[in-house]
Structure formats: structure tokens, C-alpha cells
Symmetry: C2
Subunit: 101 residues, 2 copies
């Protein structure tokens, strides 16, 4: 459960401070992804990944869609609020690239 | 001490995940500030604030300058690497504003 920080940006940054969350958001910029793919991209243990995904859902940054198929399929995608983070994600990625030079 | 995350952006985000760090960086965008002013702006207890400032120095995002005066004066300022974060800080602030509407 997320601590109830006063400001939305502090709540967001508290979550983004956890390993793998930046990678989840960046990866979802390219479109919806399944749990298994997110696990490969983040290298997070399944329980940690599902906790982070729940927290991202709680902040309404991502949505979780279940498809009634056999076997059942679940997709995670950025919400509109999540898409609103894209300029910040791009700027953070650019900062990282510059600081690696 | 900061956990040694692999990627610079994860190390940065881990630090920015702590209460008050975003406010420190945003405030220093307007120019150097003293400890006392940063404490008023962040409402952080002194020991927590000095820990966060040390961690920001460790990541070379801020500099600490001591002036040989009576009483001694210490200023904190964004480094060039810290200035490089400004687009991300602006984008995060804009995201917060939009999500408060």
C-alpha cells in the first residue's frame, strides 16, 4: 500500500523510486504488455512486479484488462493519466543518457 | 547511503522518492539557498534534510559552498548535472498540476 503523501507528485515519485517502475512505465509507452513480458523487461520477482502493478493501478497510471480467453489473457496499459507522464519519462531518459556520456 | 541501483535514473528516482527531495530540487532551480530556507520549504526535520542534501551531493546534483564569514554561511545550489534535470522537474510539475484539476 502506498503511504498517503500529500502531493500527487510525491506519491508518484515514491512509487517511481522502487526498482523497475520506471522500466514498466517506459515499456508501456509502446503499447499494452502482458505480465510475463513485463517480468522479463524488469527482472522483478513475480510478487514484487504484481505489487508494483497494483500500486500503479491505484495511482490510475495503468489499467489492467482481462480477456475471456483460454488460457485467460491479461494486458497492462498506460491510462490517459499515465500517458500524461510521457514528457517526464522522456526527460528522465534523456537526462540518464546524457549522464552516461 | 544510497543503494547502488544499476541505472543512474533508478538511483535518481530512488532518492526523489523520498519526501521533500522534489521540493529541494524545484526550489534550487531559482538559485542557491541556505539550509534554513530549505528546511522551511520542505518541512523536513534537520537531520533528514541534511541526509537528503548529502545524498543529492553524492549524486552530484547539488553543490555545497561554505563562505568564510562570521557567522559561517553555507549555500546549496544545483550543479550542471542537476540543471540537466530541469526539463524533467518541469514535466513532473506540469503533470501534477494537470492531475490536480
Amino acid at each position: 500500500m502506498l503511504k498517503s503523501a500529500e502531493r500527487p507528485v510525491e506519491q508518484l515519485l515514491e512509487l517511481m523510486g522502487h526498482k523497475g517502475v520506471f522500466t514498466i512505465l517506459r515499456s508501456l509507452q509502446n503499447g499494452p504488455l502482458r505480465f510475463g513480458v513485463l517480468q522479463q523487461l524488469t527482472n522483478l520477482p513475480p510478487r514484487t512486479l504484481s505489487l508494483r502493478l497494483k500500486e500503479l493501478e491505484e495511482l490510475r497510471l495503468i489499467s489492467r484488462t482481462e480477456y475471456n480467453e483460454v488460457p485467460p489473457r491479461v494486458d497492462y496499459a498506460l491510462t490517459e493519466r499515465g500517458r500524461g507522464l510521457e514528457p517526464a519519462l522522456e526527460a528522465l531518459a534523456a537526462w540518464e543518457e546524457k549522464s552516461l556520456r
